[in-house]
Amino acid sequence: MQLDSSKPELPQEEKSNSYWNGWYIIVIVFLLAQVTFYYLITQYFK
């Protein structure tokens, strides 16, 4: 099957790097917040 790389996706679906970086930061910060919360729970019940 031939791959169709000649038709780029529509430009409006591409968002700026800062938009996606914002998403990535939210995901990482939320993960870190959860790990901290879980760590505190573990220590509390130790």
Binding site: S5, W20, Y24, V27, I28, Q34, Y38, T42, F45
Partner: protein
């Protein structure tokens, strides 16, 4: 099961099938059948990704896991959010730009046809077998607890969903998964709420957690260090969760067509990415809450008589052997320790009981973790709710099996049939043959399920091990494809073959927990590719990035 339970179970299952058929109208070509015409919004992508990952064993096994081993299982998912970010940065843009149907098509563009076929073949082998086990695992638990015939349970578990998966393809899969997930989440919340209401008077949610915490069950974060040394065989700790879990999630979401096929249905690259990133946000808390249900069940059994062993059918089988008297004697001792509130002693007797069961039934794994939650449901929850929670198990199974069948069919059609058997077929022929392959894989999975009892009853581990044996190598091929431009087709192909054999050998030697096999497989392919490339002439094929 009461009549009300049967009514709720049958109505829910029939409702899903009807809804799936109603949503089956799709354009009769590969784009419509396998990718829903790339028309899905991000929230449908999210629900489809979650519905594909959360199988029946997730809801059966996770509460039991928390009951026996505490909350630390949640660490297994810590690598997932990081993997979502990597997939959004590197995988999604390439798959979207090349407008692929399967992840493995990209490999032909980057390497060659044989590398694509090898990778797709490894996927078909591992996913085909594990789908069969995914049918059998919940079926054996339901048939054991409810006395259902295992063969009919397998047929309902793996057969009915074929109706809408075959007729509606990816679109029917996504829409049914949406409804299934809503029912599953509602059912689990209801189960958690009911456990709290069944606690003794004066006890609330907070005190139930405290009781579990006092018994060491709130061990959410563990280091994996025992006696001053890191234990490589310890399955769930923060390091195996972050590193091993990252590689596992990267290979599952980046290189397993059952997931790639879900986010390729999005109407744009942006919708694919938002669906994946939102999954990175909600997956860990969702697993935490499911485990918390198991913790509540544990607290419940501190005030109610817990069975000495949660799988009655196995006990009945064992009582037909010479060990009958030993089992009855242990049951009596167990009852008296419970009456005396001697928790430590009752745990010792449970372990002794399992040891006797193992002697009585040598081929069977005496682990009853997967039976704990459903046994609690059947014994303690009110009429109606039992039927709903059994429906939850079926729906969870259907969501992941339907996505697996759709992806198995797409790889067979796109990576093999259209490439090697019938190169120039029309859109209509594509559509028809895709439906037949969906049916074929459904029948194959049910046949595997019918023979799966030979694996013993440690089935969840069997699925995870099967995935880990192949995922690492498949991921390694993709990592080389994306990031190491100097490595060409022949090098990565031979590295994958040797890497796969080495992974199987390492697993056989049993030095390390299976979660690490994903990391090892990926690293082996990368390192071996470098070494083999040194001895091969460089071909000048342009690289797609």
């Amino acid at each position: 099961m009461s009549t009300l339970d049967w009514v709720i179970l049958i109505t829910t299952l029939c409702g899903i099938i009807m809804y799936g058929i109603y949503k089956s109208r799709t354009t009769k070509n590969l784009d419509g059948y396998f990718l829903s015409n790339r028309s899905m919004p991000w929230y449908m992508v999210l629900l489809s990704i979650m519905g594909t990952q959360a199988s029946a064993v997730t809801f059966l096994s996770a509460p039991g896991q928390a009951y026996t081993d505490g909350m630390r299982f949640v660490q297994y998912y810590f690598g997932l959010p990081i993997a979502m970010i990597v997939i959004c940065i590197f995988f999604v843009p390439v798959f979207r730009r090349l407008k692929v149907y399967t992840a493995y098509e990209f490999l032909e563009n980057r390497f060659d046809g044989k590398t694509r076929s090898l990778t797709s073949g490894l996927f078909l082998l591992s996913r085909g077998l594990s789908t069969g086990i995914s049918i059998y695992a919940p079926s054996i638990i339901l048939s054991s607890l409810l006395g259902w015939n295992i063969y009919y349970t397998n047929l309902v578990m793996g057969g009915l969903l074929i109706i809408y998966t075959m007729s509606g393809g990816a679109k029917a899969v996504a829409y049914t998964q949406q409804l299934q997930l809503i029912i599953i989440i509602a059912g689990m919340f209801l189960a958690g709420y009911m456990v709290v209401t069944l606690l003794p008077e004066g006890m609330d949610f907070k005190s139930a957690i405290k009781v579990a915490g006092n018994h060491g069950k709130m061990n959410v974060i563990t280091s994996g260090v025992t006696n001053g040394h890191f234990d490589w065989k310890d399955k769930y700790n923060i390091w195996s969760g972050v590193i091993g879990g990252f590689f596992l999630a990267l290979s599952y979401f980046g290189a397993d067509q059952s997931q790639v096929g879900r986010y390729l249905t999005a109407k744009s690259q942006k919708e694919s990415k938002i669906g994946l990133l939102t999954n990175g946000l909600v997956k860990v808390p969702m697993q935490f809450l499911i485990l918390l249900v198991g913790i509540l069940v544990f607290s419940f059994y501190q005030y109610h008589k817990a069975p000495v062993y949660f799988d009655n059918a196995t006990v009945l089988l064992a009582k037909n052997t010479e060990y009958k008297d030993s089992l009855i004697s242990l049951e009596q001792k167990y009852s008296s320790t419970l009456a005396a509130n001697d928790y430590e002693r009752s745990n010792v007797i449970r372990a002794q009981y399992k040891a006797v069961l193992k002697k009585a039934l040598p081929g069977q794994d005496p682990n009853d973790t997967n039976f704990i939650f459903l046994r609690f449901v059947v014994d303690n929850l009110p009429k109606g709710l039992v039927g709903l929670l059994i429906a939850v198990i079926f729906l969870a199974a259907w969501g992941s099996i339907a996505a697996a069948l759709n992806s198995l069919a797409s790889c067979t059609v796109v990576d093999f049939h259209k490439k090697y058997i019938n190169v120039g077929c029309t859109e209509k022929e594509d559509y028809n043959i895709s439906r037949w392959y969906t049916l074929g894989w459904g029948v194959f999975s049910i046949i595997v399920a019918m023979f799966a009892h030979n694996l013993g009853n440690s089935l969840i581990e069997a699925v995870n091990i099967l995935g880990s044996l192949f995922y690492g190598v498949i991921l390694g091929i993709f990592l080389v494809a994306f990031w190491i431009k100097r490595i060409k087709a022949n090098a990565v192909f031979y590295a994958s073959v040797v890497g796969e054999l080495l992974v199987i050998l390492i697993y056989k030697l049993d030095y390390i927990s299976f979660l690490w096999l994903n990391v090892i497989g990926a690293l082996l392919v990368i390192i071996l590719s470098f070494v083999i490339q040194l001895f091969l002439p460089v071909d000048r094929k342009p690289v797609v990035s």
